[in-house]
Every structure is written in structure tokens, then in C-alpha cells.
Amino acid sequence: MQFSKKDEYRKYFVERFGVPPEIMDRYHFYERGKKVWAFTGEIVEIENIEALGIRALSLGRGIKPSTAFLRIIGKYATKNIIVLEEKEAEAYMRGEDIEKDFPVKPGYIIVRSRNDILGCGLYKGKLINQIPKKYRMMDTWV
């Protein structure tokens, strides 16, 4: 399956998270199947390309941003950000939901604690955990 260039996905991050367009202009977006990749390099014509940059979005019923990409552009975001207190952040990084109202628009949001962009969350009257299992904190971690 081929990667096809679709820079129109930049708009999603500008509109949903208020990331300045000039920041999003750094990235080129490539769609393959139900995944969209963000890439800052130059395309080289090679067979068997497995990935281009970083997975930025998943396409299904709607658009879902990836934790990995939000961790990169999240510091430039100006809206739809949930800021967690230290204890809440710890619980969130362990995979828990946070049962609390937050002043954001329902849908996918950026979760932050102090200066750390923790990743993606889904807000539906409460914060539903979207941190991939591989990034979650375990009991033995500090």
C-alpha cells in the first residue's frame, strides 16, 4: 500500500488544538490505509517503506490524534487542553480515567501536567484514558 501526501490534515491540529499554522507547516502528512503519518524529511523512492516519520492520526469513524504526535506539538497548543494535578497525572499515566468536569469541548483533547504533555485523552463529561499500554506507568516505576 502506498503513502499518499495529504497536507490538509494540518488543519485538524490548527482547528482542534489551536496549534499555529507555521508550526504545522513543518510537517508533511502522508496517509496509508487508516493511518496518517507526520514527516519532516525528504521522500526517498524506496520499496518496502514501513513508516514515514511518526504516526499522527488514526482514521475510523472520526479522526483520532496519536499520543506520540501530541507529545511533540502539544506544547504549542492553545485550546482543548486538560491540565492535571500531580496525583491525577500519575493515575492517568497508570491508565485510569479521571472522573471530573473540565472546561473543554467534548472529543479528543491534549492531557498535560506541569510542562509534560502526557498525550491524548477523550473528554465526554469525564476524561477517558487514551494512553497506549506501552507508555503506561507500572507500580515499580518512579
Binding site: T40, E45, I46, I49, Y135
Partner: protein, 303 residues
């Protein structure tokens, strides 16, 4: 480590200076080192943050390389900061090939055997995600770990490919190529003494053939005047000086002098009657020098 495995290394008594210290180092566990991912976090800030959690570090000179003296967890990756991609656990010796490569912003670089990604991510960090890296590996499972590390560290300028670096095309000419070649892995024995299997002469020769094929393919993909860094984490000259010497004679590559801020010795001059004319250009890092793993590095230029 079992005596049988230690004895294996006595074949190198004539080529490794301060051999007793070398053997003593092999018998001790290798400390962990980390590299701060400065794409995401300032060095000073991360070190202070981890120290406030009970870590203790010793920085190596002015390099972004910190030896862990103490840690409050069993594995250095068991922290929130690691999950957030703020650092990479990477031995100091494994940083040497990238320092020899001297990546620059905007360059096009091929990393022929890239997984699990310590060197690819270090190259990208130095390039500040500007320019292009083609990071290749032949194994699908190893590519997954490479992809995972790229994602965790927030690297966006890498094209990940699954090609056979011994023969396949990479579709372009590159400014620089890193061949961190699959090898008998003697230099990482301290990290995993249980998993280390001493190689026989036949295996060294087989690996040499594969390494030569990679070098042959690399010299086809390098721009005129571009450089190839050839490295392995093994001590056997057949997989190191012998491979490089072959490339110099066969394809007219030129061995270059290069600076390395990590203590090292020059390459081996002679092994089993085979002389290596260019040995002075190559560098070897041994475990007893700065308490690391072992590494061989050569820099070659296409004329």
C-alpha cells in the same frame, strides 16, 4: 560470567593492551548510561529531575552521556520520564559511531542496520529532526522496536524500511552511511553474559562475508566524497580491520582520520598473519578503558 566464556577472550591477549584489566572488566557488570533526548528536554533539567527521584549520575566530559551511579529502580527505563521520551538508555561506546559520523542538519543519511534505534535516534537528535534518515533493518520484529523508539523519542525525519542491506537498493545516494554491522557481539558480553555465545572461526568468517556485502552495497549508495562509518561491537579483527581493508583495496575507499572524544586505541595491525595497513586510522574502545562495552569504528570515504 562462566570461566569458559572468559577463556574465549584469551585469544585476544596479544592485541588488547592491559589485558588483565580487560579480563577484570569483563567479570564485572556493565553500568548503564543514558543520553538525554534534547529534542524534548534540556540535559540539565532532566538530570536534576531524575536526581530528585533518587538517581545519581556522572557526566562524561562535555558529552550528552551520563553514567548511572545509583538508581531507585531495577531498570533505568522504569520512569515516567523514559515513557515520555526524555532519554534513551545507551552505552557510551554505542555513541561513538554516531560521533564519528558527525551528522549535520539537512543531510541525507542511511543507517543500514538500525534496530533497535540507539544510533538512529541519536543521529536524528543531533540533526534536530531536519534532513532525512533512512533507517533500515531486515527483521520485522526488530523494526517494531526501532519504530517504537522513534515514536517515543518524537523523531519525525526517519523513513523506516525493511530491506536486505547486503543487496537491496535504497533508491538514492546518501551524504553519509552508517553500517553498524551485525556481528558476533563480543563487546556487549558484560551487558548480557548469559546470552553470549562464543563464536568459532567459521562463524567469524561467515559474518565477515555478510559485513563485506553490506559495505559493497553501501559504497554503491554513497555520494562522491561522502563518508561511510563502519562499526561493530565485537573485537575479532576478521569482522573489523579485515572487512575495512577489503573495502579499501577492492573499491578504492579511503580510510580517514577522525576525532573521538571517548578514550580509545588504534586498530589492530596484524592478526593471524594478515596485516592491516590502515589500522592507524581505525579506533577501538575496550570495556576497561571507561567502563563501557566494546566497539570498533572506521571512517571511509568514497573517492
Amino acid at each position: 560470567m562462566e570461566e569458559e566464556k572468559i577463556e574465549y577472550f584469551f585469544q585476544y591477549e596479544s592485541i588488547i593492551p592491559e589485558f588483565e584489566k580487560f579480563i577484570a572488566a569483563l567479570k564485572t557488570p556493565q553500568p548503564y548510561w543514558i543520553r538525554v533526548n534534547t529534542i524534548k528536554m534540556e540535559e540539565k533539567e532532566l538530570i536534576e529531575r531524575l536526581e530528585s527521584k533518587g538517581f545519581k549520575f556522572e557526566r562524561f566530559k562535555e558529552l550528552n552521556a551520563y553514567k548511572i551511579l545509583n538508581m531507585p529502580v531495577k531498570h533505568p527505563g522504569a520512569t515516567l520520564e523514559h515513557s515520555l521520551g526524555y532519554y534513551y538508555v545507551q552505552d557510551l561506546s554505542s555513541m561513538a559511531p554516531v560521533l564519528a559520523l558527525e551528522p549535520k542538519e539537512g543531510e541525507k543519511i542511511l543507517d543500514m542496520a538500525a534496530a533497535p534505534g540507539s544510533k538512529t535516534t541519536m543521529i536524528a537528535e543531533i540533526m534536530r529532526n531536519k534532513g532525512t534518515i533512512v533507517a533500515n533493518d531486515i527483521s520485522f520484529s526488530r523494526l517494531r522496536s526501532l519504530g517504537g523508539n522513534i515514536e517515543r523519542l518524537g523523531i519525525t525525519n526517519v523513513i523506516l524500511t525493511r530491506r536486505d542491506a547486503r543487496k537491496d537498493s535504497f533508491g538514492a545516494k546518501f551524504d553519509k552511511i552508517l553500517i553498524d554491522a551485525p556481528c558476533s557481539g563480543e563487546g556487549v558480553v558484560r551487558k548480557n553474559p548469559w546470552g553470549f555465545k562464543p563464536a568459532g572461526e567459521r562463524e567469524h568468517r561467515y559474518l565477515r562475508e555478510q559485513q563485506i556485502r553490506m559495505l559493497k552495497n553501501a559504497q554503491k549508495h554513497i555520494k562522491e566524497g561522502g563518508i561511510i562509518v563502519y562499526s561493530t561491537c565485537t573485537f575479532h579483527p576478521l569482522e573489523n580491520e579485515s572487512v575495512v581493508e577489503f573495502g579499501i583495496e577492492k573499491w578504492g575507499l579511503r580510510a580517514l582520520e577522525f576525532k573521538l572524544p571517548i578514550p580509545h586505541l588504534k586498530g589492530v595491525e596484524e592478526w593471524n598473519g594478515e596485516k592491516y595497513e590502515n589500522h592507524k586510522f581505525h579506533k577501538r574502545i575496550y570495556p576497561h578503558m571507561v567502563d563501557t562495552g566494546g566497539m570498533f569504528i572506521a571512517v571511509l570515504q568514497k573517492r
